[in-house]
């Protein structure tokens, strides 16, 4: 049982909906959506790159965004997945952690958001790229930008403007509680509104994720970095490339 758990009476129906039902819906959509997409839309599993249409802005915006978001992801892993007790055990004080998180997080967040701004600007102003933009893309961009903006705003608001907020006592445990199938919505009820809105928009983003071009995240061609230049594939033991049809197996 979570030590911070509130009594059931504190947990309103809305909180249950937002912090129990919605996360699982998003999770199911994320996992099942990817499975479905892989099964039925293999040839649509693509970034639909627009590099052919424009690359001057893309060359700046794309790395800025992608490297930025990599650090954002790492930061989220550090903040959400690793319990506070672990870092304290190894001697990282709250202040140290906080300083590192805010500094690195803000830089990464700003880089990501700047990259995204360039990419969206490019997408809107370059005719060929805009022509290749679907309604689905537009929705995705809106949700992605919203999530990023809220995240950065929450960080800036609570840490720089405000006096700092230790999300590792509320949001992080809630996040882990979802994955341990013991969700505790009460943990979220006390979080500042910007954090909660950030979490909600993130849930929405993960919910639509498999149905957008964001699927490319799962298939980032990391293996290419270490792949020998030539790949020989000898034939399968069977005769043809296709599985033999019933009644035509080799005897």
């Amino acid at each position: 049982m979570n030590p911070h758990a509130a009594t059931p009476a504190d947990t309103g129906a809305l909180d249950s909906l937002l912090w129990v039902v919605l996360p699982y819906l998003a999770l199911v959509a994320f996992v099942a959506g990817h499975a479905w997409r892989y099964r039925y839309d293999k040839f649509g599993w693509t970034t639909r790159s627009s590099q052919l249409y424009e690359n001057r802005l893309l060359r700046i915006g794309s790395p800025l965004f992608h490297f930025g978001i990599l650090f954002v992801v790492l930061g989220h892993i550090g903040g959400l997945v690793i319990p506070k007790s672990w870092t304290e055990t190894v001697g990282v004080s709250e202040h140290t952690y906080h300083l590192a998180a805010v500094t690195l997080g803000t830089v990464a967040g700003v880089a990501t958001l700047a990259g995204l701004a360039i990419l969206i600007y490019r997408r809107r102003t370059v005719g060929a790229v805009f022509h290749a933009t679907t309604r689905n893309d537009k929705l995705m961009y809106a949700v992605l930008a919203l999530t990023l903006a809220l995240g950065l705003a929450a960080t800036v608001d609570s840490n720089i403007v405000g006096g700092g907020y230790d999300y590792r006592t509320t949001i992080s445990p809630w996040f882990r509680s979802v994955f341990s199938f013991d969700p505790d919505p009460a943990l979220m009820s006390g979080a500042p509104p910007l954090f909660r809105l950030h979490a909600l928009s993130a849930l929405l983003l993960f919910g639509i994720w498999p149905f957008t071009r964001l699927v490319h995240m799962l298939t980032a061609p990391v293996g290419y970095l270490t792949r020998p230049y030539i790949v020989y594939r000898s034939r399968d033991p069977q005769l043809s490339a296709r599985a033999p049809r019933r009644g035509w197996e080799r005897t």
């Binding site: 270490t226 792949r227 020998p228 230049y229 030539i230 020989y232 594939r233 034939r235 399968d236």
Partner: protein, 1240 residues
């Protein structure tokens, strides 16, 4: 494959140390083997990943087919089918070999053909029968109320209000699905009602170019021919028909196959853009250059073919005739006068009319009297026994060098018919050596007046030049050669008149310097090309060739342009020689198995003759374009001409041609032709006499003299394999207005009183919506289907059996269905049989068996061609002669029609073939043996009107019939035809086909691969021994006469009307001056409405014939949507940048398009590529707020009187042989930049 195991020293690293480190690390993370140098990894299996790819390119079967309707490629294609779906096509490679000394026909096929399978499942595919909703509702209501389809149709179209409602809805959507049964019933009802109320000649069918899918064409043509309906011509209508071909050769478009380009030593591409319009054959032109051939391009723009040429002559649009005349001047001067070339002289003496004598007529009285060229001297003029011989007026005369006396050689028209001519209709001169000129001791000279048209406004002026003359039998005569020298301005010693001072004389026609001012081509260059052309012909014995295309052929005066070309090829002995002569490739229509096809298409096995109409004149009258012609036909006449055309409009000239029997005219009379026979019976007169009396008394008139009277309207028009309103309808907006009653953009004013036709009835208010039913069969939605009342879904070329031939390829291709016609589509053969069945059912009750009176024109290749001695015109209407059917007016022929039996007759070969045989170009084939073969091959019909006859119920059976009944595909018939010709010519011919006498091409043969054809008297060239086809080689080598007056190729035409137009001899005529004729601004004028430019409509690189502008692949490859190409100079003048929206406006209509601004284009000329349909990205215009038009919205019909001549030697009518061209290139338009915000 396996790399050696174990450590191996690495010699060379990868791209960088970082890469080395990264890639080198893989071996630690994989169980697969990594090579010692780290570059390769060896995996076992995992190839399922490319299953999708193998699946994508796998197929279940491959079917051979090709492309109609009129693609000249004749490419055989492999059509791939997977899971019952046509997936793609690729080129076949198994063409008959050309032989060891030449490149092969393969490879063939272009991107347009490869894109065709897109249509099968395209969004524009017509999948179901459609009927205009408002019409269908009214018909259903009337049908329910009256209980009879025919009465229902009559009820709807007879009510002006309801009729106007559905006609006004044309082009505005509202087509709804119907069933085949209901649609066929409506169509049948419309046909039955029209026949009953107005007569069968108020029905018309239009489908072009049968050669490239002859069964589909024959399907509807046969149906209309059985009904007595009118089949409209296409070759002249498309302006592809070169009128010069009948004028010069007495033959239509017999041209070399593309393989013969290889044989040429000198090749001029004149207005023909081979890589674009003859893509699969262009390789011959490219290859022949490696054999040393010199290639010249004449084109106003930097066309795609120009880059292949050794030299480019950028003649201004429409001035090609001037260049050719100057080249003729040089050749005559250097190769005939300054020096005689034995090969040329021998050739022109034997194979042309140059040595023949022409009388000179005295014009005027007293000392002011001048001479003008008159008529060919004939045996009739000589007096004595030769004048009394049969057909003496058609036996032309020349002088023998040996005796210096006139001789009547064999081979002329007078020898072609009659007893006396048997065995001597040939070009064998025996010991006679014809004199080319009459100059000599006994000659004097005379000054002759000739006409020139090189004035700034194109009007006529006179030239005075001397010729040597002799007196023979009381006539002042000279030779055609002497006249030709005078015409071309090639001076000889001692002759009077005004002559050029030399090549550099810019004033006197037709010198190189003279043409430079007109064409823009330097005089020296023109002279040099002429010299090279002739020198090559001299050395190679005639292997100089001119490939001539639409760029020179689509002009109003293209016949003069072509005659100037043909003068070059004929003077230099290139005609009838492999590798030489004319090669006209514009809308080719060579149905190689012509005899069988004709029999089927005209239903000549059941009744003769079929009604075949010259389409240009048909639409000129029935779309009321004649009402907008404010000028007299006299405008075109020669200087000092006799005034034949004075006060007469073009419509008057058409009416004269019709009543004199020269050209066909349907609808013929202002009465139902089914009533005439009954009326004659009632009057107690023979029908011929009755009709003549009624006409003479003026009680009955030709329908063409009152085209706006409701009883003379065309009532039903069926279009298949064609897109009339998106492609060929010159004067498109006039069609929409008057024929259809739809919205239109016509802005022209009607002719004012005083400029109106003299012999026609003028209705104050021009009718609109003449047509009751527009029926279209197509596989895609077009500008025509959206205006149609009923649209039937047709099979594509990958969904039916058919045959395909062209004149550029000596083989027969087959169409085969890769899939059965999908959705509710049907093959044309099935569709028309469906309609015929519905028709016969209704006809049994409403029509029964009746006698029709067909008025048929005087025909070429028959004795009709001797109706007009000396080409002296006498018009019975003006009292110059009596109306005599078959001589001074059309033949009147009764035909019995059992309308209830039409369906039975459609699907069986009728008995007239047994008794009359089948005739092509004057050669009649006895086909009883072939009919017997077909009885066994196809089976016979049991019961009905065709009991016991060979069946052609299915398209394959129709294919077999065509192949069996034609000489080109049946060696027995070819040999038999040649034997028939041997009897007339006295020359050995049958050996040409003897090598194939036992050979018969079956449909199964054509399914195996393209099959070479057999040499046959149906055509003038020989393929014997595997040689390349070149026209007239039989005439040249076997001395078989041409089908002309002299039996030779003609430079001179002595018909009255030719003289009237000043075109007795080759002459230069500039493009029509639209400013003078219609008050359009002059080219180059710039005002607030924009700039005035010449408006040409050449072929599109991204859509020709087998594939259309709407094809998504081709739209993607090209700019897509409607475009007009213009020069950067013109664009700069009106502030247009590339891809801007522009609007082109003239009196005929409005076009909106994007500008393609290109340095390829010459200043003052724009191109709007042909057949850019209304359906693709055409916005509303600023001019009238309605949707913009197609390329033909800015054009209109203009008819040249000389094209209407008939009843005289080679100037006699035959279907697609001769007729007025629907030319469109002389047009101008005003172009401006428009608001860039377009709305749809």
């Amino acid at each position: 494959m396996k790399a050696k195991k174990g450590p191996e020293p690495r010699r060379v690293g990868l791209d960088s140390d970082l890469t080395d480190a990264l890639v080198g690390s893989r071996r630690f993370f994989t169980r697969a083997e990594v090579s010692g140098d780290r570059r390769a990894v060896y995996r076992i299996g995992g190839r399922q990943a490319d299953t999708f790819y193998r699946d994508r390119w796998s197929h279940d079967k491959v079917v051979r087919s090709t492309h109609g309707v009129n693609c000249t490629g004749s490419c055989s294609w492999k059509v791939y089918v997977k899971d019952g779906i046509i997936t793609w096509e690729s080129q076949q490679t198994d063409y008959p070999s050309v032989g060891p000394d030449s490149p092969e026909y393969e490879p063939r096929g272009c991107p347009r053909g490869a894109a065709f399978s897109w249509y099968t499942y395209s969004p524009t595919r017509v999948r179901y029968p459609y009927v205009r909703g408002v019409l269908l509702e009214m018909y259903r209501e009337a049908r329910a109320r009256l209980g009879d389809p025919v009465l229902a149709w009559a009820d709807v179209v007879g009510d002006p209000e309801r009729s106007r409602r559905y006609k006004a809805a044309r082009g505005k959507g509202g087509l709804v699905r119907a069933t085949w049964d209901e649609a066929a019933e409506m169509i049948a009802a419309a046909h039955v009602h029209t026949i009953k109320a107005y007569g069968p000649d108020r029905l018309a069918g239009f489908s072009p170019i049968p050669a490239m899918s002859m069964v589909s064409h024959a399907a509807g043509a046969r149906f209309y021919s059985l009904l007595g309906g009118v089949m409209l011509s296409f070759y002249d209508w498309y302006a592809d028909l070169p009128v010069a071909s009948p004028q010069v050769f007495g033959d239509q478009t017999d041209v070399p196959e593309s393989g013969d380009w290889w044989d040429a030593g000198y090749l001029i591409m004149w207005g023909s853009n081979l890589p674009v319009t003859r893509t699969p054959d262009a390789h011959w032109m490219a290859e022949a250059r490696y054999r040393g051939q010199k290639v010249i391009a004449v084109a106003p723009d930097y066309a795609d073919n120009v880059k292949f040429a050794d030299e480019w002559l950028p003649a201004q649009p429409g001035t090609d005739g001037a260049l050719a005349m100057a080249m003729g001047h040089v050749i005559l001067k250097e190769f005939f006068v300054d020096r005689q070339v034995g090969y040329f002289t021998d050739y022109v003496k034997r194979y042309t009319d140059l040595p023949f004598l022409v009388t000179l007529d005295r014009r005027g009285q007293g000392p002011d009297a001048v001479f003008v060229p008159g008529k060919f001297l004939t045996a009739a003029d000589l007096g004595g026994s030769s004048a009394r011989a049969e057909n003496a007026a058609f036996k032309t005369v020349l002088l023998d060098a040996a005796t210096d006396a006139p001789v009547v050689p064999g081979g002329s028209l007078g020898h072609r018919y009659g007893e006396a001519g048997a065995g001597i209709w040939n070009l064998d001169l025996g010991g006679v050596d014809p004199l080319l000129t009459v100059a000599g001791e006994r000659a004097t000279s005379a000054e002759v007046r000739l006409t020139r048209f090189d004035t700034t406004d194109g009007s006529a002026a006179e030239l005075s030049r001397g010729v040597p003359v002799r007196q023979i039998a009381g006539h002042t005569v000279t030779t055609v050669f002497d006249l030709l020298l005078a015409q071309y301005g090639v001076a000889r010693e001692g002759l009077p008149g005004v002559w050029p001072g030399g090549y550099d004389d810019p004033e006197q026609p037709y010198t190189p310097a003279w043409q430079a001012a007109i064409t823009g081509v330097a005089g020296e260059q023109a002279a040099r090309i002429a010299r090279e052309f002739a020198a090559n012909a001299e050395e190679s014995k005639g292997r100089s060739m001119i490939i001539m295309g639409a760029g020179t052929n689509h002009w109003f005066h293209s016949d003069t342009i072509y005659r100037a070309f043909l003068t070059l090829t004929t003077l230099t002995g290139c005609q009838g020689v492999n590798g030489g002569g004319w090669a006209h490739y514009v809308g080719q229509e060579k149905v190689r198995p012509i005899t069988g096809y004709s029999a089927l298409a005209t239903a000549a096995d059941w009744n003769r003759p079929a009604r075949q109409m010259i389409q240009t004149a048909y639409w000129y009258l029935h779309t009321d374009q004649f009402r907008y012609d404010p000028f007299s036909a006299d405008t075109l006449a020669a200087a000092g001409a006799g005034g034949t055309f004075a006060g007469r409009t073009t419509a008057d000239v058409i009416a004269a041609s019709a009543r004199m029997g020269w050209m066909p005219s349907y609808p013929t009379f202002d009465r139902n032709p089914l009533h005439l026979v009954k009326d004659a019976e009632a009057a107690g007169r023979p029908v011929e006499a009755y009709v003549v009396d009624e006409l003479k008394a003026g009680r009955m008139r030709f329908a063409g003299e009152d085209p706006d009277a409701p009883q003379n309207f065309p009532r039903v028009l069926t279009i298949w394999r064609a897109n009339l309103l998106g492609s060929s309808a010159k004067g498109n907006e006039y069609f929409l207005k008057h024929l259809l009653g739809a919205d239109s953009a016509v802005r022209a004013a009607e002719a004012p009183p005083g400029a109106r036709p003299r012999d026609l009835v003028w209705h104050e208010d021009a009718p609109t919506g003449k047509l009751d039913l527009l029926l279209t069969l197509d596989f895609r939605m077009t500008s025509t289907t959206i205006y149609s009342d009923i649209v039937l879904p047709a099979a594509t070329w990958y969904e039916k059996h058919d045959l395909n031939t062209t004149d550029m390829h000596p083989f027969v291709n087959s169409f085969n269905p890769a899939i059965a016609p999908p959705w509710h589509t049907r093959t044309d053969w099935d569709a028309f049989n469906t309609i015929a069945t519905a028709f016969s059912r209704l006809a049994a009750e409403h029509l029964g068996t009746v006698t029709d009176l067909v008025a048929a024109p005087l025909l070429h290749d028959t004795p009709d061609a001797m109706a007009t001695p000396h080409g002296r015109v006498t018009d019975w209407k003006t009292g110059q002669c009596e109306p005599v059917p078959g001589r001074t007016m059309p033949k009147l022929i009764t035909v019995e029609r059992d309308y209830a039996a039409v369906a039975d007759k459609m699907t069986a070969l009728g008995p007239l073939l047994d008794t009359l045989g089948a005739t092509t170009k004057g050669v009649t084939f006895d086909v009883t043996r072939e009919l017997d073969y077909l009885r066994h091959k196809n089976g016979t019909v049991h019961g009905g009107a065709a009991d016991g006859r060979p069946s052609i119920a299915r398209d394959v059976q129709a294919c077999e019939a065509i192949l069996a009944l034609s000489g080109t595909t049946n060696g027995h018939l070819a040999t038999q035809g040649f034997q028939t010709l041997e009897a007339r010519t006295g020359m050995p011919l049958a050996d040409l086909a003897a090598e194939h006498q036992g050979r018969r091409v079956t449909f199964a043969d054509t399914q195996q691969g393209p099959v070479p054809v057999i040499t046959s008297p149906e055509w003038s060239g020989s393929e014997s021994g595997g040689r390349r086809y070149s026209p007239f080689t039989i005439n040249v080598e076997r001395l078989k006469p041409w089908h002309t007056l002299t039996g030779r190729q003609h430079f001179f035409l002595d018909h009255d009307w030719m003289a009237e137009l000043g075109e007795g001899l080759p002459v230069y005529r500039p493009p029509l001056n639209m400013h003078a004729l219609f008050g359009e601004p002059e080219v180059g004028d710039q005002g607030e409405l924009g700039i005035t430019v010449r408006y040409l409509t050449p072929h599109n690189k991204w859509s020709i014939h087998s594939e259309y502008q709407d094809n998504l692949f081709m739209l993607s490859l090209s700019r897509g949507g409607p475009t007009i190409w213009m020069s950067k100079e013109d664009a700069a003048k009106i502030g247009v940048h590339d891809n801007d929206w522009i609007e082109a406006v003239n009196r005929n209509g409005v076009v909106v398009a994007r500008a393609v601004v290109s340095h390829r284009m010459p200043e003052g000329t724009v191109y709007m590529h042909h057949a850019q349909d209304r359906l693709i990205d055409v916005p509303r215009t600023e001019t009238n707020g309605r949707r913009g038009g197609i390329h033909n919205s800015l054009t209109r019909l203009l008819v040249k009187p000389s094209h209407l001549i008939g009843g005289y030697a080679q100037l006699s009518y035959a279907f697609n042989y001769l007729g007025p061209t629907g030319n469109q290139r002389d047009e101008v338009t005003v172009i401006r930049r428009r608001n860039q915000e377009v709305t749809y």
